[in-house]
């Protein structure tokens, strides 16, 4: 029996609301198939199955808010017969929203008796309604404070203090970004390096390349920059991965998260998967598709949960440089400013050169400024050979 759990779709997500099931009991499910749509603080996300099987039971109903890690459904493994194993109980009869995910971690025997378990959903609900979580009595397993406990506390609040109005979507997104960025600045010792990279050769190559392409196939400089980052990262594994549980885990693949601003405010950073292996034409198509789906609100869970690094590119309407905040648990972020024409000294002479300022924000627990600087130099070198990036 496979337990299909609500995945974390980013450091700023601790719960989601199931909007819709795309499968029903008895349906065969393939790896990568979209099985549900879940609303996060940032967007409605198509959640994919990571395993093959047959849907046995849908445990969570549309409309329910559930913490990350909650079992949404059970699947029969290929070849497994229905009834061979009993479906997972719904946590001793409690609705999934009441299950504190802290229960998944055994409580150490030496843990102080006064330490309380609080589900992320309960904590969030308490924050939204201005309730001090420490004053809420817990009625969940082992005294855990559940969302229902907080709801009871909200109802018990004097009417002279009306409950806060529900947060609208953009306020909710801003709160999620604030939480992730505050965590980043609190936990990650950032260091920063920057380099001005000449783009004359790259832009000349792009102009020539685009002149031979149809409008729909033209490349933006962003595609070239993203590919160069991805290729450079294969030589600097300490910048590509995650810092979890006090240790760095290098990622086996390069999934570049692309920061995309939304017209209504806020941003998301879904991933271009395996960006180092894709030709520029494909990368550009995927980037176009990602931006379109991002703004239409139809992202996939794999894109949201898998970036191994993030790139923020201010583009041609931005400022000359940007120094970003790392998105935890990632360990680095690359920033590109606007490409500007500058006076450029070369071979003892002065000329005009389009150039871009590339910056690296990196986690000092994992890498040092020397390696960070070498990474930017490697990036600059790759961008002098754009034709080699088109492979």
């Amino acid at each position: 029996m496979i337990e299909f759990k609500l995945p974390s779709l980013g450091a700023d997500m601790d719960e989601g609301k199931l909007l819709e099931w795309k499968v029903k009991p008895g349906d065969a499910v393939n790896k990568g198939q979209v099985v549900a749509i879940v609303d996060t603080s940032k967007a409605a996300v198509d959640v994919e199955s990571w395993q093959e099987g047959t849907v046995a039971e849908l445990i969570v109903a549309p409309g329910e808010k559930i913490p990350v890690g909650t079992v949404l459904a059970t699947l029969l493994e290929p070849g497994e017969k229905p009834g061979a194993m009993r479906p997972a109980p719904k946590s001793a009869g409690l609705p999934p929203s009441a299950v504190p995910i802290a229960l998944a971690t055994p409580v150490a025997a030496s843990a102080p008796a006064s330490r309380r378990m609080v589900s992320p959903a309960a904590r969030k609900h308490a924050q939204e309604h201005g309730i001090d979580i420490d004053t809420v009595p817990g009625t969940g397993p082992r005294g855990a404070v559940t969302r229902e406990d907080v709801e009871a506390a909200v109802r018990a609040k004097p009417t002279a203090q009306p409950a806060a109005a529900p947060l609208d979507k953009s306020a909710e997104m801003r709160r999620a970004i604030a939480a992730a960025m505050a965590r980043s600045k609190r936990e990650i010792p950032h260091y920063y390096v920057a380099e001005s990279i000449p783009m004359g050769t790259a832009l000349a190559w792009l102009t020539q390349e685009n002149a031979e392409r149809t409008m729909a196939e033209r490349l933006l400089p962003a595609a070239l920059l993203l590919k160069a980052v991805a290729v450079a990262l294969t030589r600097f594994p300490e910048l590509n991965g995650f810092f979890r549980n006090g240790a760095f885990q290098a990622a086996a693949k390069v999934h570049v998260g692309v920061a995309i601003s939304l017209r209504q405010g806020g941003l998301v950073a879904p991933a271009l998967l395996d960006a180092d292996t894709k030709p520029l034409t494909r990368l550009m198509q995927e980037l176009t598709d990602l931006v379109k789906r991002c703004r239409a609100g139809s992202l996939r869970s794999s894109e949201m949960s898998e970036p191994t690094i993030t790139v923020t590119n201010l583009g041609d309407q931005g400022t000359e440089a940007v120094f970003g905040v790392i998105y935890p648990p990632q360990v680095a972020l690359i920033g590109f400013g606007r490409i500007v024409v500058r006076p450029w000294a070369e071979n003892g002479g002065l000329k005009l050169m389009p150039a871009v300022t590339a910056s690296l924000s990196a986690d000092h627990r994992v890498s040092d400024g020397h390696r960070g600087a070498l990474f930017l130099m490697a990036l600059a070198e790759l961008l002098q050979h754009p034709e080699e990036l088109n492979q």
Binding site: T207, N210, L220, L287, D316, Q317
Partner: protein
């Protein structure tokens, strides 16, 4: 197709990318991208939308000429003639 029709097509395409724009507040003689927050991907999609609706090619070398809405209408009008 006259200039008014072209302007209407351009505005409709623009609104499909930036639904928040208020037509009445757009100054046709001022740089479009200074009035509307259009990044390079939005701009590319805008031009692609015009290409699909009007069935004409816009070479990348001409992008720099398309600064204001008036520029755009004049350029498209000449191409359609």
């Amino acid at each position: 197709m006259n200039d008014a029709d072209i302007r209407a097509v351009a505005l409709a395409t623009l609104k499909s990318i930036a639904p928040e724009i208020e037509e009445a507040e757009l100054r046709p003689e001022r740089p479009l991208r200074q009035q509307i927050d259009l990044d390079s991907m939005d701009w590319l999609n805008f031009l692609l939308g015009l290409h699909e609706k009007l069935k004409l090619e816009i070479p990348e070398a001409d992008y720099a000429k398309l600064v204001t809405l008036d520029d755009l209408v004049a350029y498209l009008s000449a191409k359609l003639r």
